[in-house]
């Protein structure tokens, strides 16, 4: 298969000092749907509260890392707790990490990871 899930720590409690820094941080693992077709893999991840600016999609070697920080809602009252989404996936060799397309809409990240050309089925036209 192509994308397999692996997850680092589900929770961290960061004791960050400083007035602006959050006192605690919750790291959540976003729910995902992963579909594969002949041309590649599509991944949908629920990351409510994460805007495009606060989202990071990162490929390092064979690892695809999704990370996003939730925009603190409601002002000062929730600054004591901040939420982050993080999940990583192992990419198989048949996928082409150079050509990943990502978009985010209404708190859902859509990632399209195409297969390398040599791993895609080729239709041969009959002349």
């Amino acid at each position: 298969m192509s994308i397999s899930a692996e997850v680092a720590g589900n929770l961290t409690s960061a004791g960050v000092n400083g007035r602006q820094a959050p006192v605690t941080e919750t790291v959540l693992r976003p729910a995902v749907d992963i579909f594969e077709d002949a041309e590649g893999v599509t991944l949908y991840a629920d990351i409510p509260g994460v805007s495009k600016e606060r989202l990071n999609v990162h490929v390092e070697g064979k690892t695809l890392l999704l990370e996003g920080t939730v925009q603190p809602a409601g002002g000062s009252q929730v600054e004591s707790a901040s939420t982050r989404y993080r999940r990583s996936f192992a990419l198989s060799r048949e996928l082409d990490p150079e050509r990943i397309e990502a978009k985010v809409k209404d708190g859902v990240l859509t990632l399209r990871v195409p297969k390398r050309a040599e791993n895609r089925p080729r239709k041969i036209e009959i002349q």
């Binding site: 919750t26 749907d33 579909f35 077709d37 990351i47 009252q77 707790a81 708190g107």
Partner: protein, 143 residues
């Protein structure tokens, strides 16, 4: 029901929430979380003397199709999230919620059901309900 690891995660999570609640108490804010896994959408309620704000984390829904109603101090939100349709190929993971949902949230009794506003940003529904004047703490000046 759950695997061992999952069970461990859940209990760790509960423990963390409990700690967080204590932290919230210490900082005198009034934040309530309802973050159980498998409940869609998760609900946070934040209240202050002026208003009560309800956050529903409902990514990928059609906000126009949401039915938000309030009767006295009971807020109910009904909607649906469509499943991603995959006609060809195979499904490797399907963890995301799909289907109809309904959440009913009891708000403090002093909310004013005629002053409600709602928005949908980045997959989060925010509903603010104003509280009645009488409920706000009043500063009494000494002359």
């Amino acid at each position: 029901m759950f695997g061992t690891l999952r069970g461990f995660e859940v209990s760790l999570f509960d423990e963390f929430r409990r700690l967080q609640r204590q932290v919230d108490d210490v900082f005198a804010s009034d934040v309530h979380h309802s973050f159980a896994r498998g409940v869609f959408p998760a609900v946070d309620v934040i209240s202050n003397p002026q208003q009560v704000e309800v956050y529903l984390t409902a990514p990928g829904i059609d906000a126009k199709g949401l039915d938000i109603s309030i009767q006295q101090n009971v807020l109910s939100v009904t909607g649906r999230r469509e499943a991603q349709v995959q006609n060809k190929g195979s499904v490797h993971r399907q963890e995301r919620f799909s289907g109809e949902f309904r959440r009913v949230i009891t708000l403090p009794e002093d909310v004013d059901p005629s002053r409600v506003s709602a928005s949908y940003v980045d997959g989060v529904v925010r509903i603010s309900v104003q509280r009645r004047e009488a409920a706000k703490p009043r500063q009494i000046e000494i002359h």
